[in-house]
């Protein structure tokens, strides 16, 4: 990146970050939570972008990673007394990492559509398991639990307020974004993109494509699981609905609407979708998905680069 565009980028970044920090102090409760949710879904969408946008592997399996992060956190918060924030995160990440490993194995042996369908089916497998294994997972009703306090061991322990929760989520999501950005711009990230562009050629040049794919899936799964943990923290419940493949579908929608392969795009996409849903549900009640769905289809056909791509082109004029 040139010196000038780097300055522009970082200035923009700081401005947006500042706005997000100030937001909970200014916004009414409903919108505060709404904003936090956008961040969480944005993180999920970013994790999915690693696979779809950067490595070129369409995955419908993110609901599994997300769901297991959520249930993992729930497990920690229910089984260990007193409920510990960091333990919840650890359990959640372990849960999603385990699934990610499983999916990663298949990612190296299947291409394109087969991989997409298989990941979809995996989400459903987990859905069925979670839905029917009522003793452990609470079945249809899910699990509810108390939110742990925000604590730095030994130094500080205070229950979360709506604002501090928002800032915590913001911190985690921002850190994730910066880490992912660093990774995608590193040589590793370049290889991923080269796999997306032309896998056989990347293999021919000598890269161990399979290993890269596995790492990509693990990364993607970990951050998706992290989003699940955050969601559990925010809402204090874990439910099988979030493991249903529709969640994966919506994640992919965020990616496409925002612009794949951009990291920022998916967050935008998540925000855009949630706003649309909010707006339309005021007029159409539960059937908001009809107009939103039509808009999505139109975007796939006419705006394949997503919102970000569209904005970029508009700005370049």
């Amino acid at each position: 990146m040139s010196k000038r565009s780097a300055t522009v980028y970082w200035t923009g970044f700081c401005i947006i970050l500042a706005l997000l920090i100030v937001a909970p102090l200014v916004l009414p409760e409903f919108w505060r939570r709404f904003l936090t949710e956008i961040l969480i879904w944005g993180l999920l969408a970013m994790s999915s972008d690693i696979l779809i946008g950067y490595t070129g592997m369409v995955s419908f399996g993110h609901s599994a990673f997300f769901g297991l992060g959520m249930y993992g956190a729930a497990a920690a918060l229910l089984m260990v007394r007193p409920p510990n924030l960091w333990l919840a995160m650890l359990y959640g990440l372990i849960g999603s990492a385990a699934i990610a490993l499983f999916v990663a194995y298949f990612s190296t042996r299947l291409r394109d559509i087969y991989f997409a369908i298989t990941t979809l089916i995996f989400s459903q497998i987990f859905y069925v398991i979670i839905f029917t294994w009522t003793e452990v997972t609470g079945g249809e009703n899910g699990l509810t639990f108390r939110r742990p306090p925000l604590e730095i061991p030994g130094l500080y322990s205070e229950p979360f307020t709506s604002e501090t929760l928002h800032w915590f989520v913001l911190a985690v999501v921002t850190a994730s974004y910066l880490i992912l950005r660093r990774i995608t711009q590193s040589p590793f990230g370049m290889v991923l993109q080269s796999i997306r562009e032309n896998e056989p050629r990347t293999r021919a040049i000598g890269y161990a494509v399979d290993r890269y794919k596995i790492v990509a899936v693990m990364l993607s799964g970990l951050f998706a699981g992290l989003a699940g943990v955050l969601y559990a923290l925010q809402n204090r419940f874990a439910a099988p609905d979030f493991v249903y493949f529709l969640v994966s579908g919506e994640t992919v929608i965020f990616n496409v609407m925002g612009g794949i392969g951009t990291l920022v795009g998916p967050i935008l996409g998540a925000g855009f979708f949630l706003l649309l849903r909010e707006a339309f549900s005021r007029f159409f009640t539960e059937y908001y998905l009809i107009p939103v769905g039509v808009i999505f289809i139109a975007m796939v056909i006419f705006m394949p680069q997503g919102l970000l791509g569209f904005m970029r082109r508009w700005l370049n004029q």
Binding site: D112, I117, L120, L289, G293
Partner: protein, 298 residues
């Protein structure tokens, strides 16, 4: 010795037989749905996520026509035609513009269509399940139990429809067009075959077949907006296990998986019996990824 005898006595023979018949019935419906799906994939590389919704729409159209005319057969016929037309319209408006683009876009577009269709059905028909009355009741004695005739009819009709379609593909003029386009789209076009319209026709046929399944299956379950979801997943599993684009394979896979699930439901709940199909899929992907019923390419 007695334990071996005991084992054989413990096998629920009647249950197994009932489930065999059930499995074949479900298998034929699944085959009808999956045939359309595999054909659409084979000819235009489109993974049609909305296929389950076409099934669901067919069932609802059946409800509507049945209520208006009182005739099950008319409902079956009209639902098939109406949904075939809807399918054609969808293909022309949303899939044709995507020709030549990344296959991901067709998955996304059809996914979007499925969301819209599901919610549209929810909007128009409400969340309460509707019923399609079967054209005749009546059962026959299968060993010690009563088995409904209607279920046998479903299997027979599905088989007939698939059979008719197979004959059309093999011997009809347009059947040759479809097969040629599936094998080599470019050369088919160079031979004067209007490939774009062949695609539309195939999509419409697939949609019609899914709709027919919906009407046939309607009397067995309630017709509601979410009924497509489970079927579309199973249909995908069948298509992958049977070999994508392979008509015979998906029929064999449909029956195979449905039988296994029916047997499994003797011991576990139906919700859990579904795992059987997942296991079959995983095993297929691990050991015979081109399809269980497809000869391994030399």
């Amino acid at each position: 010795m007695t334990s071996v005898l005991g084992f054989f006595q413990a096998i629920p023979y009647e249950e197994l037989l009932i489930q065999t018949v059930n499995g074949i019935v479900t298998g034929m419906i699944l085959a009808l749905i999956a045939s359309g799906l595999t054909l659409i994939f084979g000819i235009m590389d489109v993974v049609n996520f909305a296929h389950g919704e076409l099934f669901m729409f067919g069932a609802y159209m059946g409800v509507v026509v049945l209520a208006a005319t009182g005739s099950f057969w008319l409902a079956l016929l009209l639902a098939t035609l109406i949904v075939a037309l809807i399918g054609a319209a969808l293909q022309i408006t949303t899939l044709r513009p995507l020709l030549g683009r990344d296959p991901l876009t067709t998955i996304l577009a059809t996914f979007g269509i499925s969301l819209v269709m599901q919610n549209y059905a929810l909007w128009q028909f409400g969340p309460v399940a509707r019923k399609i009355q079967e054209p005749f009741t009546g059962q026959f004695t299968l060993f010690h139990l009563q088995y409904p005739w209607y279920r046998v009819l479903i299997a027979a009709l599905s088989a007939a429809i698939i059979g008719a379609f197979y004959l059309f593909l093999k011997y009809g003029t347009y059947g040759i067009w479809i097969r040629a386009t599936t094998q080599d789209r470019v050369m088919a076009e160079a031979m004067g075959i209007p490939v774009l319209w062949v695609h539309t026709a195939v999509f419409a046929i697939g949609a019609g077949m899914a709709a027919a399944s919906g009407v046939l299956f309607g009397p067995l379950v309630g017709v509601n907006h979410a009924m497509g979801l489970d079927w579309v997943l199973k249909a995908f599993i069948v298509v992958v296990v049977g070999g994508m684009g392979n008509l015979g394979g998906s029929i064999a896979a449909s029956i195979f998986i449905s039988l296994l699930e029916a047997y499994a439901s003797i011991w576990v709940s139906p919700a859990q019996a579904v795992i059987v199909s997942f296991v079959v899929l995983i095993l297929t992907l691990l050991f015979r990824p081109t399809g269980l019923f497809v000869p391994t390419p030399k």
